[in-house]
Structures are given as structure tokens and as C-alpha cells.
């Protein structure tokens, strides 16, 4: 690892972006390959549905393809893509509210889990925990869920999250702290039975 290596890495990314901006579909394909897993996971964590995550991931990259020329050098590609995905997720929430009057109705994967039929075997404990986390996550307020997912599950820095959400870092810290407290309260009954 040298200084040149990091420069090369940055230059190659800039080069791919520049190629994609000039309409090179192959270059855009590379961008998709590099980032679609991150975006898919993000949308899944926010909405809790694989089909929706699949659809919105494609929408995100289609939006990015349309607006790639508006991407400026200083904006990191990942946070830019995440910003587009976030807008689509929020749009999905809003359409759910309009259709069903409740934002969490679409999250049937999360809400279908009531905590009674937990998997019995020890080897499934982690899966079980993930299910419980998914349910709790679905009950968090959207804004807090967004910060919680980006920080705790996708390990972005406060600075990157601030770029995506447009919120100031102190507000992010407070929201994350509250989200953690809420999550702990929701997970407590399960954690106690697990002990």
C-alpha cells in the first residue's frame, strides 16, 4: 500500500465515473457491480421486503444513470447513490401511507413475526435474533431507522450520513442514541428469554 496505490484507486474510480458520464454503459455496469449489494442491503433493512429491495435497487441505479452528469467530483459515489435510494424508500413510505393509511403496512415480513414461534434449535439462534431485530427495526420511526441502519448496520461515518440525510451531526448523534434505546427496549424480552 503506497500513496500511489491510493491515488490510482481514486483515479480509477474517477475514470469510471467520467466514462459513465460520457455515456459508456460498460462503465456504468461497473458502478452497478461495485455498489448494488450495499444499496440492496440498505433498502432491505429499511423496508424489510426482498422484492421491494430488488425493485428499488434497480430504480436507484436507473435514476443514477439518468442523473450521472449531476454527480460532482467532491460527492462520494456511494453516498450519492445512497441519497437516491433513500428518496425512493421515503417515496415508498409515502405511497403506503396514501394507500393504506399506515406506513408500516408494507413491512409484512417484519410485522408477521410475533415472537411466539421462535426457531427451537441452537444453530438457528442467530437467525432468530435477526428476525427479532427486523421486527424491532420495522417499528422504529423512519428517520431514526435510516440513521440506525446506516450507522449500526452499514458502518457509515456520521459525516457520510450527514451528507445523505442533510442533518447536522449533533442531531444524528441524538437520533441514533434514541434509536438504540428504543431498540434495546424492544429486544429486551427476547434477550431475557435467550439468557
Amino acid at each position: 500500500m503506497t500513496c500511489h496505490a491510493s491515488e490510482d484507486l481514486k483515479n480509477s474510480q474517477d475514470f469510471i465515473i467520467a466514462k459513465a458520464q460520457s455515456g459508456d454503459k460498460e462503465a456504468f455496469g461497473l458502478i452497478f457491480e461495485y455498489h448494488h449489494r450495499f444499496i440492496y442491503k440498505f433498502i432491505y433493512a429499511m423496508l424489510g421486503k426482498h422484492e421491494l429491495a430488488e425493485e428499488l435497487t434497480q430504480e436507484t441505479f436507473l435514476g443514477a444513470y439518468r442523473g450521472i452528469n449531476s454527480l460532482r467530483g467532491e460527492a462520494a459515489l456511494k453516498t450519492w447513490l445512497c441519497g437516491i435510494a433513500k428518496n425512493l424508500v421515503y417515496k415508498s413510505y409515502r405511497s403506503n401511507v396514501k394507500e393504506n393509511g399506515k406506513s408500516d403496512d408494507e413491512l409484512d415480513t417484519l410485522n408477521s413475526f410475533d415472537g411466539k414461534n421462535l426457531l427451537p434449535d441452537e444453530e438457528f439462534l442467530n437467525k432468530e435474533l435477526n428476525q427479532v431485530i427486523a421486527v424491532a427495526l420495522g417499528k422504529l420511526h423512519e428517520d431514526r431507522r435510516l440513521i440506525f441502519v446506516l450507522k449500526e448496520m452499514q458502518s457509515l461515518s456520521y459525516k457520510e450520513i450527514s451528507e445523505i440525510t442533510g442533518s447536522a451531526i449533533p442531531k444524528l448523534k441524538t437520533d441514533l442514541f434514541r434509536a438504540k434505546i428504543e431498540m434495546r427496549a424492544m429486544l429486551r424480552p427476547y434477550m431475557e428469554t435467550r439468557k
Binding site: 500500500m1 500513496c3 454503459k25 448494488h36 449489494r37 436507473l62 435477526n130 431485530i133 449500526e152 448496520m153
Partner: protein, 322 residues
């Protein structure tokens, strides 16, 4: 400070988002407070659970193919759309997005006109002041009629405040307006030289700054390379089974050394505004601090806990890619 006030700080400590000084303060409190120590442990284990949540979630393997097909159909649909013939204004406005930015452009135009007007008026004012000053110079020279080689201070722009008392050498006879004109000419000839010197100085300064910046980049790269090596070495630290302890004396010593240079480089990166370097140096710093704060022979739990967090943050891979 009460424990309640430390709660948020402990959370930031777990997130690795505290500066060195505050982290030290929080560490001290945790050391003395059992409930806060328990809180820290709880937050760490919760973070580990949450971090695992998305590990097994994977997009379908054909998502890439699906997207390529969607992209193709999108491009085809775009090319099938009837071409509308645009006039010059339409094309121009579409190109610059003037329609969208119309209010902003109008505002900018007003500001430009106002600014231009202000500077024009200011220059006009200066000109009139200069024309007022000239007769006063003439009259001052008149007072020394019959004498020549009047020495003004170097900046003739300040000629207007030069009083006859300040004029030092007086000799040969010459007519007064010519002398004033000569001095003004001399000044106008000297000025570009001053500018040229300033430019040269600026160029030298820039060259020095560039050298410093290159030096900083090399040092940062070396630092991060060493940190990567340290983390790898820490990951593979020797476990002494008889005593159930790790032997990390070497890693601890290295971490202490690297921590100092890390802080210095991180501050420099803040000054230079290099975001990537700053971020990476900031990320590794809490771990350097923790490793340097460990005993030479720490318990298995202490070491595993740090190892796990380094793994969760993908730090070694991040450093390798940097």
C-alpha cells in the same frame, strides 16, 4: 458530570467518533463507574448483533442481468421518442437549465449589476480625488520654485499627504509640473516590479507548500501502512495457553509510537482538507489508543473484543484498499 451526561459520550465512544481527549475523559469515568462500564459492554455487544443483521442478506444473483435488460429497454424507449425540433432559445435554455434556474440567474444578474455599479462609482470617486490632489502637489512645488530633484516617499500614491516639510533634498532648478509628472511616471514604472516580486514570492511559497503537502501524503501513506501491519500483527497475536493471556508487548509499543504520529497527521490532514486521509486516520486512532492502553499481557476477552471490532469495521481491508 453525572452518569446520565456520560451516556451519549459512551455511545460516541462505541461508535469510535470521539476525539482523543474526550475519549480519555470518558475512559477514566468508565474505569471508576461500574454502571457505565456495564453500559459500555452492553452497547458493544448490541452493536455486534446489529452489525451481523445484514451479513446474510444478499441480492438475487440475476439482479445485474435484470438491471442490464432494464437499462437497455430504457435506452431504447429514449431513442424511440419523437425528436422535437427546438429553437435556439429552447436548446440554449435546456443546455444551461435556464428555465429551472431563472430566478437564481435573475438574482445573480441584479447582484452583478449592483456590484459593477458600486466599483465604477468608487473608481470615479478616486479619479476625482486624484484630480484634486494634483493642484495641491503643484502648489507645493510652487513653494520650492527654482529648486529641483524633489524626493517623494516611494509610493507616489501617497503624494497627496506629503507636506512640504517632508521634502528633504532640493537642488537644480526645473519647472514644477514637469517634476510632479516625472515622479508620477517613476512610480508607475516601479509598481509592476513590486507586483512581479510578489508573484515570485507567491510562486516560491506555493512550491514550498506543494513539497510540504507531498511530504504529508507520503507520511500518511507510510503511517497507514504501519497501522495496517500493526492490526494484522495484533490479529495474529500470540496466545499463551498456560496463563490464558496474550503476549502483545510489541504491538503495544508500536501502537504507542504510531498514536503520536497519527494525531499529528490527522491534524495536518484537517488543515489540508484531505477528507479521505482524515477519515482513515480518525478511524484507526481509537484502536491505537485502546491497544496502547492494554497491558503487555492482557486477558483473552480484552484482546478478542478489540479484534472483533476491528473486524466489524473492516479496518484491515479498508487500510489495504487505501
Amino acid at each position: 458530570m453525572s452518569c446520565e451526561k456520560y451516556a451519549q459520550l459512551i455511545n460516541d465512544l462505541v461508535e469510535g467518533e470521539l476525539d482523543l481527549q474526550t475519549a480519555g475523559r470518558v475512559d477514566l469515568h468508565i474505569f471508576a463507574c461500574e454502571s457505565c462500564e456495564a453500559e459500555l459492554e452492553m452497547l458493544r455487544s448490541e452493536k455486534e448483533n446489529y452489525a451481523h443483521f445484514l451479513f446474510e442478506i444478499e441480492p438475487p444473483s440475476d439482479l445485474s442481468t435484470q438491471f442490464q435488460a432494464k437499462l437497455e429497454s430504457f435506452d431504447q424507449a429514449k431513442s424511440v421518442l419523437p425528436e422535437v425540433s427546438y429553437g435556439f432559445y429552447d436548446r440554449f435554455s435546456n443546455f444551461f437549465g435556464i428555465r429551472f434556474f431563472q430566478p437564481i440567474l435573475a438574482g445573480a444578474a441584479v447582484l452583478f449589476v449592483l456590484g459593477f455599479g458600486y466599483f465604477w462609482l468608487r473608481n470615479l470617486e478616486k479619479d476625482s480625488e486624484q484630480s484634486k490632489v494634483l493642484p495641491s502637489i503643484n502648489s507645493a512645488n510652487k513653494a520650492f520654485e527654482g529648486k529641483s530633484e524633489i524626493i517623494f516617499p516611494p509610493e507616489t500614491a501617497k503624494a497627496k499627504i506629503v507636506s512640504p516639510k517632508k521634502i528633504t533634498k532640493v537642488s537644480i532648478t526645473k519647472s514644477e509640473p514637469i517634476i510632479a509628472q516625472q515622479k508620477a511616471n517613476e512610480a508607475s514604472v516601479k509598481k509592476p516590479f513590486v507586483r512581479k516580486n510578489k508573484l515570485q514570492n507567491l510562486k516560491i511559497e506555493t512550491a514550498i507548500n506543494l513539497n510540504e503537502f507531498q511530504d504529508f501524503q507520503i507520511k500518511t501513506a507510510t503511517q497507514l501502512e504501519k497501522v495496517e501491519m500493526l492490526f494484522r500483527s495484533f490479529r495474529n497475536a500470540r496466545f499463551i495457553e498456560e496463563r490464558e493471556e496474550y503476549d502483545i508487548a510489541y504491538e503495544k509499543q508500536q501502537a504507542e509510537r504510531l498514536l503520536e504520529s497519527n494525531i499529528r497527521l490527522r491534524r495536518q490532514s484537517e488543515n489540508y482538507g484531505t477528507i479521505l486521509e482524515n477519515e482513515m486516520l480518525g478511524k484507526v486512532e481509537p484502536y491505537l489508543l485502546e491497544i496502547s492502553n492494554l497491558d503487555a499481557n492482557p486477558t483473552q476477552e480484552e484482546v478478542l473484543e478489540i479484534k472483533q471490532r476491528i473486524k466489524n469495521q473492516n479496518l484491515i481491508a479498508g487500510l489495504q484498499g487505501f
